[in-house]
Point group: C2
Chain length 203, copies 2
DNA sequence: TTTATTTCGGAATGATTGGTCCGGAATGAA
DNA sequence: TTCATTCCGGACCAATCATTCCGAAATAAA
């Protein structure tokens, strides 16, 4: 209704803020503290817009969380695709991905981990919408890893003794583990050990 | 102060409930909904004791959470030791552990995952006490896996090409990944793939 | 400039939060 | 039975929660 009149009729006052810029800030807040312990007051303070602008623009807390998760997701998969599309041997691509991810995790003093993993643990089991987002995202990531691995197998860069989709699932699982472990440690040696051994499965 | 007088002087009315039994129920509640979205009211309702009994016996919410986490931890490590102490080839022990853990995860319709992992993700980054519990527990588990693996290496059941502590870290990381993945799926095939490949690192 | 419309700051909402308190019931020791 | 002590149901508290609402300011089209 409102959107209809908005589209047909005149535009009045314009927003004082950039919608995406503020959403990016919401990502950071939810990412840092999670869904339940980020209050609307935290958001009002952190986003720099008023309560009513917040509700007018993004709907209620839950719908803002969904938007933030979507924003993070597309940002993250963008970065991963960037590495995935490099013209490198498949094994190098996987290794670079793992090292990129752990590098980012270790760099973060706040131990935010991965927003998607955090959401998967904290909210997915009680929230059908989030759960489905996570699942869909998981399938996309599995597909992306599968392609890289399959190509590697065709070029004999990666072992053909194992199923490509099993290898994809295994690598993704390793990443998830790393993202949890990073929540309470920043000992690089641990991650180096894990990556080295996970990579050995591809041989 | 209170404990002192309690020890020296007479005992009066006894508690109407079993302290450990109620604590076990608290574990289930926190395990299911996490710290932040389990309210004291939820606990009062779920534990079946009154608000004042709750505070008298376990202190405030945070201290009850710590006690619940400790309870879960000792229960879990008990079960793991039970398997770890079996007189089986080391590789079989690891495999049985992985299968036991995934079996329990898959059996749980509520997708509670692992309480320790949930806490590591949800609370550890903002809670020094929980963070240290998680770290200490992680070291103990690493030590336990290390021993099993080391023994396996000495018997040539497990590859000597890799460092035993690296292998321990790797296996634990795989378990953590599985515990996250189980939060939003119960497709056994995924876990079978992961376990098979993780086990292959020990060859 | 007028007018219709939107934005937005901040007050106000009722519900829920974690935590305290009181008074009667229960209970072990004397 | 008395008495000192503890237990516990439930009322109560201030603070915080997510959300709504109102009126003034802003703005694009007429």
């Amino acid at each position: 209704m409102l959107n209809l009149s908005k589209a047909i009729c005149v535009m009045a006052r314009t927003k004082d803020f950039d919608e995406n810029e503020v959403l990016a800030r919401a990502v950071d807040l939810f990412w840092l503290k999670g869904y339940n312990s980020t209050s609307m007051q935290d958001l009002v303070d952190g986003l720099g817009i008023s309560r009513s602008s917040l509700y007018d623009t993004y709907g209620d807390k839950h719908s803002l969380f969904i938007k933030a998760l979507e924003c993070y997701q597309s940002r993250a998969s963008g970065k991963l695709c960037q590495i995935g599309n490099k013209t490198l041997p498949a094994k190098e691509v996987i290794k670079e991905l793992l090292e990129f991810i752990t590098g980012e995790l270790l760099q973060d003093q706040k131990h935010k981990g991965c927003f998607l993993v955090n959401a998967e643990v904290e909210v997915a089991p009680h929230d059908e919408e989030v759960s489905q987002m996570i699942c869909k995202n998981g399938q996309q990531i599995e597909e992306a890893f599968y392609k890289v691995i399959k190509k590697g197998q065709d070029n004999d860069e990666i072992t053909n003794k194992q199923d490509a989709s099993a290898l994809a699932r295994f690598i993704i699982n390793t990443v998830k583990g790393i993202q949890v472990t990073a929540k309470s440690t920043n000992d690089k040696a641990i991650f180096d050990d894990i990556i080295k051994l996970a990579m050995s499965v591809l041989d």
